[in-house]
Subunit: 396 residues, 2 copies
């Protein structure tokens, strides 16, 4: 009766436990959401001020390709990183999500293959399912902080159906950051095998400890195959303003993306007005202050979790996620139990079971993803809850 | 190299002439846009006031299904029409466009068929092409003001691959309004043949001369198969605020739509804040005042155009479009000529050639679609320009 592709849509691991929280919620228990990457930092005032100064009397359709001033400001934001895209090489989308959907729609026929290091951002699966794209996971190791395998291993996964290699850097859900050399290796593969490279860089500013990485926008020898996915959501704590970007220098590709943009007419005019002000007014100082806040949280979380008996984790290098191994057989069962049966000083924790981020689910069975986009006192309570929860769960 | 479906995307007839306007624009000629349905009425102040009163410091993700208060206000808006949908039978989308895309994605496998009275809203074609849906046009006659053919004719077009019948009422691009009896006939077909009925009702308030029609939401004997597509864009002159709605009582269908909503996380938080205020604060008085304005324009346009030698048109019954037959062989050529070679008192007119709204393009060759969402003085100038343009064009 319904589309076969749509019937294959899975529930996101980020949301799958929500039904289990009902009992705790009804009992008035405070649920600390480590499952979602929703920054709690304030949206910069420039966003609201620009929207309040909107002078038009009618909220009209904006250009399908995006508001011209916004494109100009994004161009300048990239220029500051020595990355040069012309205005018609930048298209504005309804968040990074639409940027990804349109990109995949344009590149893939049903049955074609995407290469992706696993674990990967689970929402990608929705787009793959919608479009009938086959996922080929590139194996990475938890023990190795999710470093990419060798060029030979990756190349051995490429078939004549492989259209693109896709990844997020810094990584959601891993918190890993690919080195310049790892990215250069992917770039070589993209050129040699003539496959596209989809680089989701929405966490670009959230790299800690000076890890040496780059934007794929700097690989100027392969710009026709490199598609940069970007978004204001995390950069400016504006998840509810749906403004994403696709950057690419392949005229055919961008022509098709523009047609997809035209099909939905336009995105939110006011969100673009706000986004334009953010890109124009905020600078390195702002990015650094946000980076410091997340780094402080990263350090606090890492130190706290590694003290828990049996918990294993790598030090996250970027974004605001990490995957941790728990001393349990089934992390999903533990997470449900935490939500439904356990609380500490009136609080409990919602985790995102890691298996949903893997193509080979068995690799994530005893792991969860944690998002640390929360204040330190919330993180402290969450860590304590996990520690005591694990003890009680394992002594049932 | 690229997706076959995406390579099939056509340029919208609404936009296809834009490149031809460059010469006139560069020469400083004022272009009257009769090609686009962009209302020029002011967005009600309630929209802006609600957004200015937004009290949160962070623009966070809203619920994927839509902001709860907005769903509640939309429920009440429908209740006033004696149409009852529960909260979980209402999902909020990024405009009517996303509502349509998600609906088609959920219902159709590639190669399945949609029945649609032609001419139809050209943007539907983008969604059909993306998803590989085959369009089967239901023939209607210009001379008959686009009335639906008999039940037998429509039924004869149904195959085992037909998944849904789809239409907009009031009609874009026709300006026709289906009578209650015509809609009841479609409802019978939907029930008897077990096919879905997708009713795009975004122009619901723009019905003139008291034409007897209904929302398909009133057909309570077939609510599992009836999918209502709605949007604030035209109702409240807020095209740039991307807030649409899907209403349906089939739990499986709505479950899949919800998963699609989750895949793109959320729509614009501020647009929903504004939309909620519009639905809550505005009432019949507002809708009537807008209706009167458009009716006045409709009358003005109709009287003006029908006086032009060789121009044939029906009196539009709803929305703010009409299709007119021109005394030329090729309306596209005439439209390009108008833009590139003709002006009257410093102005010229951009039309939307009608063939792009037809599946059988030949039916629209000598016709254009006109949108009359413009002030009377602009319409007056446009009519004069068309009149003088036709004379000069036919005497070249």
């Amino acid at each position: 009766m319904f589309s076969k592709n749509i019937q294959n849509l899975k529930t996101s691991p980020v949301r799958e436990l929500i039904p289990y929280s009902k009992k705790s919620k009804d009992a008035g228990i405070d649920i600390i959401h480590l499952n979602i990457g929703q920054p709690d930092l304030e949206t910069p005032k420039e966003f609201f001020e620009a929207i309040e100064s909107f002078g038009e009397k009618t909220i009209a359709y904006s250009d399908s390709s995006g508001q011209k001033e916004l494109i100009e400001s994004i161009k300048k934001y990239y220029q500051k990183m020595n990355i040069n895209y012309e205005n018609d090489e930048i298209l504005i989308t309804a968040g990074g999500s639409e940027a990804l959907l349109f990109t995949l729609m344009t590149l893939f026929n049903a049955g074609e293959e995407v290469l992706i290091p696993e674990p990967y951002y689970a929402n990608y699966n929705s787009f793959f399912a919608m479009l009938g794209i086959k996922v080929v996971g590139i194996p990475t190791k938890f023990e190795d902080n999710f470093k990419l395998p060798s060029k030979e291993v990756i190349e051995s996964l490429i078939t004549e159906k492989t259209k693109a290699i896709m990844f997020s850097n810094p990584g959601n859900p891993t918190g890993a950051v690919y080195s310049r050399d790892e990215l250069l290796m992917l770039n070589e593969i993209s050129k040699e095998k003539n496959i596209f490279m989809i680089s989701d860089e929405v966490y670009r500013e959230f790299i800690y400890d000076g890890k040496d990485t780059v934007s794929c926008g700097t690989f100027i020898d392969n710009q026709e195959r490199i598609i940069i996915i970007d978004s204001i959501s995390k950069r400016f704590s504006t998840c509810g303003a749906r403004v994403g970007t696709i950057l690419n220098k392949n005229k055919d590709f961008m022509g098709y993306i523009l047609k997809l943009c035209q099909s939905r007419l336009a995105i939110s005019t006011l969100d673009m007005i706000g986004a334009e002000a953010l890109y124009r007014c905020l600078d390195e100082k702002y990015y650094q202050s946000v980076n410091r806040k997340y780094m402080e949280r990263r350090d606090f979380l890492f130190e706290g979790l590694k003290k828990i008996d049996g918990v294993v984790l790598n030090k996250p290098e970027g974004a605001f996620y990490c995957i941790i191994e728990l001393p349990v057989e089934d992390a999903t069962d533990f997470s449900k139990w935490l939500l439904g049966e356990f609380s500490y000083e009136g609080s409990t924790v919602m985790l995102a079971p890691a298996k949903g981020f893997y193509q080979r689910e068995e690799l994530g069975l005893n792991k969860v993803r944690i998002s640390y986009a929360l204040e330190l006192d919330r993180l402290e309570k969450a860590i304590k809850t996990i520690e005591l929860g694990l003890k009680k769960y394992n002594n049932r």
